[in-house]
């Protein structure tokens, strides 16, 4: 049982104008894999370091299993951490790196040996125990760092961007290994990353942070499908969601968004709460995969936007189209299948899946309330 509770946690660094972490509240349930996701400088690593006890908390309360932790030193929190640089002791071999924390805690020699051997077998390090870190590959070092945390058998595991130093292929493999380890150990894990793919694939839940604050907490698909604001819509998803300035128009009980002079009528179940917003300016968020690109003739039924194809970016499994809709200043992106016969410069029609669009308040950037089933 290890529930981590953050209550209004704030961190102010001396001389900084704004707090690095600002009033963050979050509950990480027992056995949960919580991912703190956000861009560089958003406060996610500082939050993790405060949980670890490596950084003093300026305000707020940190609890682990209903025990206040603010004044408990790092070594007494029963937490293990895997660092971005792995932080392996370069003058010790793998065996000593794994055993270093246990020796300090007075664990009997035989027990240290048993745990080190067990972790080494679990992580495929049994043949590398005599090697020094400089003689290991990036993936092996990462596994040693994980092993050092595992042998401690802590209540909570913390990960600070542990995959960011690995190459792309190894990152995918190690990601899978980490997920397996979480399932095997069933421990509470808090994982910091700026990589949304890691967050989406690994997290039981994602906590999106921006400018020191929590923007949204939810299951990965929930965060992807129901972004709380324009930041989440643009940050999660690759390519990011398109954000287009529009105006809400209400006529005959139907709600439409007026984009570049064209009215796109929203399905009734998506517009139930929006009819009071008639005439209000909004930002329409459309994911690239929710845009259908057709020839001008096929889109002549009036449900689409005329656009010029600017660029075609084939990625193998899919193709990204860069489009310039008539009457709009910004370019928008669409994701289509691998085979595309279109060429840059051609005229096309864009048909958004109106059941999947998101509306945001341009002033607050927050999502406007919506109801009804998801597309």
């Amino acid at each position: 049982m290890a529930v981590v509770r953050l209550e209004h946690i704030t961190k102010r660094f001396a001389g900084a104008a704004a707090p690095a972490v600002d009033d963050v509240s979050l509950i990480v349930e027992d056995g949960e894999f919580m991912v703190l996701l956000g861009p560089s400088g958003c406060g996610k690593s500082t939050t993790l370091r405060m949980i670890a006890g490596l950084e003093p908390i300026s305000a707020g309360e940190l609890w682990i299993d209903d025990r206040p932790m603010n004044r408990v030193p790092a070594k007494d929190r029963d937490i293990a951490m895997v660092f971005q640089s792995y932080a392996l002791y370069p003058h010790m071999n793998v065996q000593d790196n794994l055993a270093f924390g246990l020796k300090r805690r007075g664990v009997p020699r035989e027990e240290v040996q048993r745990r080190v051997q067990a972790a080494a077998r679990m992580l495929g390090l049994a043949d590398l125990l005599e090697r020094k870190p400089h003689a290991l590959s990036g993936g092996q070092r990462q596994r040693v760092a994980l092993g050092r945390a595992i042998v401690r058998d802590p209540k909570v595991f913390l990960f600070d961007e542990p995959l960011s130093n690995l190459d792309a292929a190894l990152r995918v493999r190690t990601r899978g290994e980490l997920i397996q380890q979480h399932q095997r150990l069933g421990a509470t894990m808090i994982y910091v990353t700026h990589d949304q793919v890691e967050a989406m694939t690994m997290g039981s839940r994602i906590c999106v942070m921006n400018r020191g604050r929590v923007v949204q907490v939810g299951r990965p698909l929930e965060v992807y499908r129901e972004p709380a604001d324009t930041f989440v819509a643009a940050f999660i998803g690759s390519p990011p969601a398109n954000l287009i300035a529009a105006e809400v128009a209400v006529a005959d009980g139907a709600v439409a968004v007026r984009v570049a002079g064209r009215e796109l009528v929203l399905p009734r179940h998506r517009s139930a709460d929006l009819d009071r917003l008639g005439g209000r300016r909004v930002l329409v968020g459309i994911r690239p995969e929710d845009l259908k690109v057709t020839s001008p003739a096929a889109g002549a039924n009036g449900a689409g936007l005329a656009a010029r194809l600017v660029a075609v970016e084939p990625l193998g499994a899919e193709t990204i189209l860069v489009l310039a809709p008539d009457g709009l200043h910004e370019e928008i992106l669409a994701r289509v299948g691998p085979e595309v016969a279109l060429r840059p410069g051609e005229r096309v029609t864009l048909e958004p899946n109106l059941a999947a669009v998101h509306l945001f308040d341009p002033a607050s950037t927050r999502a406007l309330p919506r109801s009804g089933p998801q597309a």
């Binding site: 790092a74 951490m81 660092f83 640089s85 932080a87 002791y89």
Partner: protein, 274 residues
């Protein structure tokens, strides 16, 4: 001859010239150490033939060299050990801890490096007399520690400052105290830099003459550089024995350099390549 080969030859000539210039005096002294003063006076640059190896035994046993050698060893090893330990602790503290006045203290320590040591000699003399340390090895050791501390702290501070913070955080999470982290993590990792300071301090202190001649008066307490001076008379120098004495003095430094040089080069080039 292609331009590349010509350039290579030119480079070799320059390097050979420089090597002869740098190593020549040493080789000459080494040759003289095996010749008598009479032979040297007759032909200063002749080859050492026959070789008088017995001169080494004469210098060692007949000229009190074993005492000077032992005194130099005690003073140098003690001073270098103190410098390495205290210097590493001070450097670690200045590199890894944020506290008011950190940079000021570092600046004050380091700024003393610009003062020529001769300036302090009268003050040091008075101080040692005052505290009963004049004409003692302990007094000389403390003076050497004070003299070499700025350079030691400067070299080690920059090394400790470059160590990644994650290492220290990891050790803290493993449950180690600040001193244990210094002793079990920072110091072993910093060994190349410590080796650099050891060799630099060793060479300086082993060869130091000025403070030794001012602060030691008993013949039984003298260090090697003062012992070598004994072969220099007011009217006639015993050049043969002088060379033998110099060679005896230089051998430990060469051995120490061979022992520490690999670590020292690691320390000097640390961070230069990933």
């Amino acid at each position: 001859m292609p331009a590349r080969a010509l350039l290579r030859t030119l480079l070799l000539v320059v390097l050979a010239g420089y090597t002869a210039f740098a190593a020549g005096p040493f080789v000459w002294v080494a040759m003289m150490s095996l010749r008598t003063t009479t032979e040297i006076t007759a032909d200063p640059y002749a080859l050492p033939w026959p070789m008088h190896w017995g001169k080494y035994a004469d210098a060692w046993f007949g000229s009190n060299y074993q005492t000077y050698f032992w005194n130099s060893t005690v003073v140098t090893v003690s001073a270098v050990a103190l410098l390495s330990l205290l210097g590493a602790m001070a450097a670690y503290c200045l590199a890894r801890y944020r506290f008011p006045g950190n940079r000021l203290i570092f600046f004050v320590i380091f700024s003393t490096i610009i003062l020529p040591p001769q300036i302090t000699i009268i003050g040091v003399f008075e101080l040692l007399v005052e505290y009963g340390l004049y004409n003692t090895h302990l007094g000389l050791i403390l003076v050497y520690v004070a003299l070499q501390m700025p350079l030691t702290v400067y070299i080690l501070e920059s090394f400790f400052a470059r160590m990644p913070q994650d290492l220290f955080d990891a050790a803290r999470m493993d449950g180690y105290s600040d001193f244990e982290i210094f002793w079990r993590i920072a110091l072993p990792i910093g060994l190349p830099a410590v080796a650099t300071t050891v060799i630099l301090n060793l060479i300086y202190i082993w060869n130091e003459f000025l403070f030794a001649v001012v602060l030691l008066t008993d013949d039984a307490k003298r260090t090697l550089p003062l012992g070598i001076q004994r072969f220099m008379g007011d009217h006639l120098d015993d050049n043969g024995m002088l060379a033998t004495g110099l060679m005896i003095a230089v051998i430990p430094i060469i051995l120490a350099y061979v022992f520490f040089s690999e670590k020292m080069i690691q320390g000097m080039t640390a961070g230069a390549i990933k």
